[in-house]
């Protein structure tokens, strides 16, 4: 599936790439390397890229890395960490060696993501209407209906094109055989797309000689595509719909991305206090009075959207917004109540969900997942704790998880107690031998583990940005790529 036919005949039988020059001594060991790609057909662009990279003196790489770091800080491509009186701007560390995806690999990722987004939307449509999948006992009803992300206000409510998840970020990893596997679906407000585009701009600034004449697919279309999708879902009969990006404000750590999205779409970046609901419609406060808003791309969570409908203490939201939405005068993306679909417990059922709605095999496999709420799975997990990754179902950002092989005996014992106390809060997966990518480290170019988050935009149809956010675990041996846990990012090149 993933080895492209065209390249197979061209490169079969050739010897594997050998690290030399700056890459000398680079050894991915048993992990699948995104550049050397052992056992996969060679791609001429990768061969060329590797020889260009190997010819760059390490000092040159370091100088470029310093330039890039300063550039990110100066441009304010940062997330802000506030404490007491100080505001510290942190950058997401940028590794300047790109992660490359071949056309054949991209074809699998793109079709696989589109398939998954279709299934997610059909699942959401179903559980908020007929609940056939629950009646057919494909997914346990209580897992859905009692899920914290299940939103009563959505029951029976129709959304345009039955699209709930307008922007989806699918976290994908690669195992030691080079097979892609989905780690999780981010169907609420996935972030990181700004870095996809900014990382490309950074590559063009500091690594332009590496990119010369290579055919890498562009990423600049995102804002236009997103705006078109937001216009598609606007209430019918509106000629030139007013789209806005709704942000919690300048103190939010992802504020830079909100700025990016507003700028790329060419629409106002608003906060809850800029919006008001009157006569069943949503308006923004402008210099010339109230102006109607037709689509809200919101970057605040369900709970904070509308103090009338959800958290009454929310200062970030817009009173009456959900009521207006239900009257069809405004569109909200992503829809409310998508959290149930990206829950780690539901994730385990995704292959069955895909087959149920689409009668297709999943193009992208899940990681083998056990649901600890089930007695057999719990017993297995407890017995094999030292070799498993155990994740709390409700958390995100890499918090609260156990990586068995890296844990001490005491940590294992503590976690075993946690697991026994509340098994339904956990899922377990085998420890993945995540693929690695050459990364500039203190001691030279070294293999570091990476993942990939492509972004899919759906209005009427789904479009996947060719590329995605490649996150890299910068600490040696670390499997955790989250920015809050010492992760960085790379530019992601999808070859044309």
């Amino acid at each position: 599936m993933q080895a492209g036919g065209a390249f197979q005949s061209q490169s079969q039988g050739q010897s594997q790439l050998q690290p030399h020059g700056t890459m000398q001594g680079y050894d991915p060991q048993l992990f699948f390397c995104e550049m050397l790609r052992p056992g996969q057909p060679q791609h001429p662009t990768l061969t060329l890229l590797m020889s260009r990279l190997a010819a760059l003196p390490i000092e040159s790489l370091r100088r470029r890395a310093q330039d890039a770091e300063r550039d990110l800080l100066e441009r304010g491509i940062t997330f802000t960490v506030y404490s007491d009186a100080t505001a510290i701007d942190r950058i997401l560390p940028f590794d300047l060696i790109p992660r490359v995806i071949t056309p054949a690999e991209w074809h699998q990722i793109e079709t696989g993501v589109i398939q998954r987004v279709r299934a997610l939307n059909m699942f959401l449509r179903d559980i908020y209407h007929e609940r056939k999948i629950l009646a057919d006992k494909i997914v346990p009803a209580e897992l859905v209906l009692k899920n914290a992300g299940y939103c009563q206000a959505m029951v029976g409510f129709n959304v345009p094109f039955n699209t709930y998840v307008h922007v989806c970020g699918t976290d994908i990893v690669r195992d030691e055989t080079g097979a892609f596997r989905v780690l999780e679906d981010n169907a609420r407000t996935p972030s990181g797309v700004a870095y996809v585009v900014e990382n490309r701009h950074m590559s063009l600034r500091v690594m332009s000689d590496l990119m010369t004449s290579l055919r890498v697919r562009g990423v600049d279309e995102y804002g236009l595509r997103l705006h078109n999708a937001m216009a598609e879902i606007a209430p019918t009969g509106v000629d030139d719909p007013q789209v806005v990006v709704l942000s919690p404000g300048i103190f939010n750590s992802a504020y830079f991305e909100h700025v990016f999205l507003a700028r790329e779409m060419g629409v106002p970046l608003v906060e809850g206090r800029d919006l008001t609901v009157e006569q069943g419609k949503v308006w923004m406060r402008t210099t010339s009075g109230l102006a109607q808003v037709h689509t809200i791309y919101r970057r605040i969570g369900d709970d904070f959207l509308d103090p009338d409908a959800f958290n009454p203490d929310s200062m970030l939201g817009v009173r009456g917004l959900i009521e207006a939405w239900r009257h069809g005068t405004v569109a909200i993306a992503n829809a409310v109540g998508t959290g149930v679909a990206d829950d780690k417990a539901i994730y385990a059922y995704m292959p069955r969900i895909i087959k149920y709605y689409l009668s297709e095999e999943p193009i992208l496999q899940n990681v083998e997942t056990r649901i600890c709420a089930e007695p057999d799975a719990l017993a297995y997990t407890l017995d094999h704790l030292h070799e498993l990754v155990v994740k709390p179902v409700a958390e995100s950002g890499g918090y609260g998880l156990l990586i068995g092989p890296h844990a001490t005996k005491a940590e294992l014992a503590d976690f075993r107690a946690l697991l026994r106390a509340d098994p339904s809060n956990y899922i377990s997966q085998p420890t993945l031998k995540l693929s690695v990518s050459p990364t500039l480290c203190a001691d030279g170019v070294k293999p570091r583990h990476v993942d990939l988050r492509p972004f899919a935009v759906t209005g009427k149809d789904t479009w996947v940005l060719p590329g995605g956010l490649t996150r890299v675990a910068l600490r040696p041996g670390s499997l955790v790529v989250n920015s809050s846990q010492g992760g960085g990012s790379k530019d992601t090149w999808v070859l044309a």
Partner: protein, 322 residues
């Protein structure tokens, strides 16, 4: 100015952003003004009464009480610390750049990336100032750095900010601030120079007039226009009425008027209260009127102008605060 027809697609400006735009301009302008006055005091006001000269700066800004809470004496060191380093002082360049940057952050989707980048870098540079960077041997260099940064901002804005509504509000902020700063500058000097004696003998205090005009970047132009020396009436008219002088109150208020007119014509914003107030204020800024007041009543008049500038800002903001 030419009226450009608005494009077919209506581009709205969020009211909160319009206000942030005015404030962005005002804070960046304040940095330049503060650097100017500190630099000129340091360089040209080294006469017998050093304390009085340095004290004039807290006086301009209405900071005497705050200043004396933290310092016992007005010297280059104490005034320098208060205005260049003290983050808890709301009128220090530290506070100005922090507030300017917060407004720029709010406006980041609207202003040019070059504007944001320069403010961000300028912020880091100002934040890095420490006591040993403002010692006498560095003082002028620091002031020059601040002026350079503020002027780079002004230039980048001129060359990159798209000239729609937000730009008009930005320009209004800049011109209101310049007008305000000039009245303050004039006020302290007239306070210390003029009111004590009935015979305002400018020659006695040539150095002071000199410093005043240099702080406002008007010294050389004034020399050309008035080669015979200084007198209070002429200096007051130069700084309040002369529409060729970039920092005169008259010129800056004229510019505010132009941008208010553009906002009304191009964007149909209701600017009547502000424009009426501006007309009344401008009518008082005539050579005859200012010359007559320059003898003894200039200070109350300057207070009036400052209050009206503050009210103008409020009138403008009130048109879109619902």
């Amino acid at each position: 100015m030419i009226d450009v027809a608005p494009s077919h697609h209506k581009v709205h400006l969020i009211a909160r952003h319009a206000e942030a735009t005015i404030w962005l301009a005002r804070y960046m302008e304040r940095i330049e003004n503060m650097a100017r006055i500190l630099d000129v005091t340091n360089t040209f006001a080294r006469d017998a009464d050093d304390t009085r000269n340095w004290l004039s700066i807290p006086r301009i800004n209405g900071d005497l009480t705050e200043f004396y809470k933290k310092h016992t004496e007005a010297t280059q060191r104490s005034v320098g610390e208060f205005y260049l380093l003290d983050q808890s002082n709301g009128t220090s360049v530290q506070s100005f750049i922090a507030a300017g940057r917060e407004n720029a952050r709010t406006l980041r989707a609207l202003i040019s990336t070059e504007m944001w980048l320069q403010i961000n870098v300028f912020y880091a540079r100002i934040r890095a100032l420490t006591a040993d960077t403002i010692t006498p041997d560095h003082f002028t260099t620091v002031c020059a750095m601040l002026k350079d940064g503020a002027q780079a901002h002004t230039g980048i804005t001129e060359g990159t900010l798209y000239r729609d509504q937000a730009w008009h509000f930005y320009m209004i902020g800049r011109y209101l601030e310049r007008a305000d700063q000039t009245t303050r500058l004039l006020d302290t000097r007239f306070h210390s120079l003029a009111p004590q004696s009935d015979a305002v003998d400018a020659d006695l205090d040539a150095g002071q007039w000199n410093a005043l005009l240099r702080a406002a970047a008007g010294y050389h132009a004034y020399r050309r226009e008035h080669p015979n020396g200084y007198n209070a009436q002429e200096v007051a008219c130069f700084m309040l009425v002369d529409t060729a002088f970039p920092r005169s109150v008259g010129l800056n208020l004229t510019q505010v008027g132009r941008h208010l007119t553009q906002l009304r014509r191009r964007y149909f914003l209701r600017m009547s209260p502000a424009m009426e107030r501006l007309d009344q204020l401008s009518a008082t800024l005539t050579e005859g009127n200012v010359s007559e007041l320059a003898g003894r009543k200039l200070s109350p008049f300057l207070d009036y102008v400052q209050r009206e500038i503050g009210s103008l800002h409020e009138d403008i903001v009130a048109t879109f605060s619902h």
